[in-house]
Symmetry: C2
Subunit: 210 residues, 2 copies
């Protein structure tokens, strides 16, 4: 293979070209205009067209998420990887912030003391904050389960839950639990798929629409 | 959905159970024992069984990668997200280190001056290091293309290239270029799929075998 076989696309054009190719391959599949840019960005991030069918949105989840970000939301992730994937320039322009408590010493101690996961303990730490947050969960189903419990106990009122943990144990159930909540805006990747990259892509897709 | 429907699995058992489920679902598919733990960890990270067929290994790429890590390799990633996903405890135990140059000021200046991408400029910066590195590329095909050029020019001799960028423009070609190199150990996700999460998962799968 020679270099000449590469597509000659300017770096700043690559994303545009990618989205054109995604649109082309989606063919006649109709995406809801409110969800379209989120779905396409997740496909762009994963090259996995399953997300055209997997992503489930509560009513007006995208516009509610965008509104929260416009007002300067605090985003909580369940991995440093998810936090690393969120566009810091776009966050800053909107006076938003992001935290991941997973590596915090108090979280490790709390998890040990309560025989729970650090992901759960991270959600408890977030519940202690004075503000309502956006949660971007791309890894730990136990984080979603704990969010569900905290919401049921009325200890927490997330502005949006991005529920896209990936995996084989309790992942599917944890997502169904979030989708059973009547009054919480959510964007969930139904099924096993997801990831910290997907969580970050969804946050970025919302930020880029501001 | 009630909490009782969750599988009652201890946190420390979740990964074991997940790998058992992956093994079960792979069914009669035979994986090369040298590659098996890498392939299964990528499936564990993505819940995407396509990786049972996508991942391509140069001869003894896994054992060569493990040997390099045992000797305390320096790993270069093309995203902070990929760097964030690598297990720092496992790195430290093996006296390994990881760098991502993408956000470095000198890289931004070099890219601007040479009308190239920061990913390319990052690879040039890595080529200036005194040691041979492991490259874990999960995002930028231009990073792989630049590695190919630097190898052809004999300016760089990677100990291993993990070539798993994701996307729609030049991604497939960049991976084929790496696979055309006769003497460089590589692990590549053939096709469009991959990601920083996949790159980190492969590094971790090697570290966990030490």
């Amino acid at each position: 293979m020679e270099l000449k076989e590469l597509d000659r696309v300017l770096p700043e054009e690559i994303e545009k070209r990618s989205f054109e190719l995604i649109t082309k391959e989606l063919g006649e599949k109709v995406l809801d205009p409110e969800y379209e840019l989120v779905i396409k960005r997740v496909i762009h991030t994963t090259a996995d067209f399953d997300y055209a069918d997997n992503l489930v949105f509560s009513p007006h989840a995208v516009s509610k998420g965008i509104r929260a970000l416009k007002e300067g939301a605090h985003i909580i992730t369940d991995t440093n990887m998810g936090m690393a994937g969120i566009n810091k320039g776009a966050l800053k322009r909107n006076a938003c912030s992001v935290s991941c408590f997973m590596a915090d010493e108090d979280v490790a101690e709390y998890a040990k003391l309560h025989h729970t996961t650090r992901a759960c303990a991270s959600m408890d730490k977030a519940a202690g904050l004075s503000e309502d947050c956006i949660f971007a969960v791309g890894n730990a189903p136990t984080a979603l389960v704990r969010l569900y419990e905290l919401i049921k106990e009325e200890k927490i009122h997330p502005k949006l839950i991005i529920g896209v943990p990936v995996g084989f144990v309790n992942v599917v159930q944890s997502k169904e639990m979030i989708m059973s909540l009547p009054d919480i805006p959510y964007i969930v990747a139904r099924g096993r798929k997801g990831g910290s990259n997907v969580a970050a892509a969804i946050v970025n897709a919302l930020l880029y629409q501001i």
